[in-house]
Every structure is written in structure tokens, then in C-alpha cells.
Amino acid sequence: MTPAAPSFLGFERSDGRAGVRNHLVILSVTGLTGPTARRVGRVLPAAIVITHPFGSGLLGEDAVIQDRAIAGLASHPNVGALVVLGAEPSKVQAAVLAAEDRGRRVQGFSLADAGHDVLRLTDLAVRAGAASLRALSADRRIPLPASRLVLGLECGRSDPTSGLAANPLVGRLADRVLGQGGIAMIGETTEWLGAEHLLARRARTPEVAEAILDAAGRREAQALAAGLDLTGSNPSETNVRAGLTTIEEKSLGAIAKSGRAPIEGVLTYAEAPTAPGLWVMDAPAYAPESVTGFTAAGANLVLFTTGVGNGYVSALAPTLKISANAATVARLDLQLDIAADGVLAGEETLDVAADRAFETLLDVASGTLTFGEILGEGDEVIARFRASL
């Protein structure tokens, strides 16, 4: 008898994606309306408030990325309903259309709609949000296969236990989800340096291999142009004291999060994968920007390893915090969702730890809260690359 395929209880979306949460999101797409969005959130504490601090005056790459990321957040699979706020009607309309295209319940209000009166804008948003919360509460979870999971894979405040156990554990979780036909993404391009040839070797096609090497080379050149030699200064003195010898060793520990699957393609920041499998995102390494790149690309869960502790989580995608450092596990028992210190204590193998962690992952997909959700550590931060006008 074959065991049943792994599944979870989720929200089926009309665009074919799967939600693991059914959030009402108050999304402010311009810096001018952030305070109003936060005020609405205080009236409707069940809502998730996401504010983007910029607006007009972005150029070229930044303008494109901002529009793409906002559209991705607005239509995220964990969004059950959305209220969009913004200064300019055109920016509000763009986010509303992105959400409507994917079948989300959405209403949008600009400052112009409210006669440039922030109290009236608050009133419009609160009323729309309250009605949406009522509608959302009538939605029910249904069994969905693990193939509908889209993972973002992240690490932050790493230490030697990350590369030895926590990241390889996440690699095994990614392999399991990918083996079911799901999607996983890794980013943090600078962490590929020294191991980019190994990622390239796993590329599905020669073109993808070339794109991986190009992305790593471009990021290294950008750093050099700014006076920072990433391959000359890595591993850092702290890393060397902790036992890391070469940049290859450091990067191998980081990319262990990606498991062993072939790489389907290289995504630009916040770009959604177009097929199942493992994807790499050419993106900044700082966790808030990196994780938002994954959520804007449709990640419905994030797996986030840490050595000494890192509280950042996505506001939209439940983020499982994982550590294999025994001292961190003892100190941050209410901030870690998966403890992997038993692997380095000799109490369990990585495969046994992965069995346990996979159950936790499916439980969280079905609605069990992460500590990041309970504590309200979540945010979404869209990366910026260039100057504003």
C-alpha cells in the first residue's frame, strides 16, 4: 500500500494558486497613505497592514520593480481580500487590477476619492475592510496536495550550525516539496559567490547556467564598483575565527538550503516562477528585501534558518524559523518554529529531523500559527536599487 500523498488544508483560489492563510490586507502603495493604512489597521486589528514608503519619482529599474512587486503582493495567494490605499488614482488602480486579475476581493481608494481628507479615506477603508472580513470568515479550508506549496528559502544571522544542519535540513524540506511537484526559490545572489559554478552545474539548460554565472558576476562587479571586494574579503574575520576557511565553504553552507533539485531558471526581483521546480532569484541578501522578493513572486510559505537568532518574518507568508544552535533553541524557544539542535547533539539524523519538520510545515500550511505571526514580527519591504527624482 502506498502512503497517501502529503497534503494540507488550504484556500483554493480562482487563479489556481493555493492560500495557506486568508488575510484581509490593507495595502498602501504610496508613502503618503501609509499613516492612514496603519490607522485602519488599529480599527481592524485582524487585518494585515502593508505600507510601501515610496511613490513618485522612481526611475527605470526601480519603477518597474515597484510596480511588479506591488502587483505581486496585491494578488498574493494568502490574500483573501484587499483594500488598496494610495495617493494617485493610477497607482491604486494598478494594484486593484492586479488583484482582480487573480480573482481577489478588492477595493481601492485614492486620496482624490476622499477629497484629500485622510479621515474620510480612513472611513472608506474601514467600512470596506469590515465588510471583507465578514466575507472572508465564510471561506473554508479544503484538502490540497503539497504540490501547491511555494517555498521561499532564506537564512539570516547564520553561524556554523546553519551550514552544518539547519540549511541542509531546509534543503531536504525543499526536496520533499519539489518531489511532490511544488515550487521553491532561493535568492541572496552574493551568497552564491564561490559556489556559483555548482549552482550552474544544476541548471536545467546551458542558458540557465549562463544566467546564474552572469547574475553572480554582475553582483560581484557592482560591489567592486562600490569599493567592496566580496571574494577578497570573504569569509570575514569573524567567519574565519568560527572555522570557515574559504568562500566556497561559506557559500556551500548557504546554498545547502536549495537541496539537490535541478534549477529551472533565474528570476529577477519579485518575478513569479512560471513552472514547478527550483528557481533562483537574483536579489539582495538583506532578509526584509529578500523575503519580500519571494512573497511578491508568490511564495505562500517561507523557511528561514538562523544561527544566533533573527526575528524578521514575512507579513503575508507564514515564516518558519529554524535553528540548529542548541543555545539559540534554549534562548528563543518562543521564536523558533523548528528546533534542529538534535541533529548536532547526535539525537536524530537529518532525515528524521526532516520527517518531523515536514509535518510542522504541513501543519503551518493548514493554519497552525508561527511564532512570527503570533508576535506580529511580519513586514514586507520592496527593494530599492537607484536614486529617486
Binding site: 556554523p160 552544518l164 544542519a165 541542509p168 559567490l193 564561490g194 559556489a195 555548482l198 567592486l224 569599493g227 567592496l228 571586494d229 571574494t231 577578497g232 574579503s233 570573504n234 574565519v240 568560527a242 572555522g243 570557515l244 576557511t245 574559504t246 568562500i247 566556497e248 565553504e249 556551500l252 553552507g253 545547502a256 548536532l344 547533539a345 547526535g346 537529518l350
Partner: protein, 99 residues
């Protein structure tokens, strides 16, 4: 508590999981369980690597099953493997920009 871990069957090195003294007979945990003991020729600090076997000069040294550098001097079994005897194949030889 384990003494040391070996991540991949192809690896040349183990990693200490606690501070290990010289002359200790260490039994690393490998992917398939306990491995043959290695007698350390010098103290190995937590997080640092030691050779599982004698290594000649110019060996492409493996950890995670992949090459992490090339040995620059012979290393005895149980010897410390670090920046004094292992060189990156990727890092720039000129240090920081402008130096």
C-alpha cells in the same frame, strides 16, 4: 553530544561540534552513522575542521561533497585544516580594492 560531524561520504574533513583536545580519538558522525575514529594531532576548536586522512599538497579538498579549496602543504590525518594549509580557488589574490 557528538564530537564531530562529516556531511558527505566524499568529504576529506570532519567539523568539530565542541572544542576537542589534541590526541583525542574522535568518532565523527557521518551521513550513515558513526565513522572510524580519527586521532587528532592538535586541538580543534568548535566549528573548525580536521583531516579524516593524510592529505598531500594540491588535493582538491571536499566538504559538503564539493571542493572547498586546495591543500597548500601536506596535512596529517587528524590535523587542523584551515587558512594556513587550504587555499580558495575562487577568492581574489589581491585583498580589498584599493589596497
Amino acid at each position: 553530544m557528538l564530537d564531530a560531524i562529516v556531511i558527505d561520504p566524499a568529504d576529506h574533513v570532519g567539523t568539530a561540534l565542541r572544542d576537542l583536545p589534541a590526541a583525542a580519538a574522535v568518532v565523527p558522525r557521518g551521513p550513515a552513522g558513526a565513522m572510524l575514529p580519527v586521532v587528532l594531532v592538535e586541538p580543534i576548536a568548535v566549528g573548525h575542521k580536521f583531516a579524516l586522512m593524510e592529505l598531500a599538497v594540491g588535493v582538491e579538498l571536499r566538504k559538503y561533497g564539493e571542493v572547498i579549496g586546495v591543500t597548500t602543504v601536506p596535512i596529517a590525518a587528524g590535523g587542523h585544516v584551515h587558512v594556513h594549509n587550504l587555499a580558495s580557488r575562487r577568492a581574489r589574490s589581491v585583498g580589498r580594492v584599493g589596497v
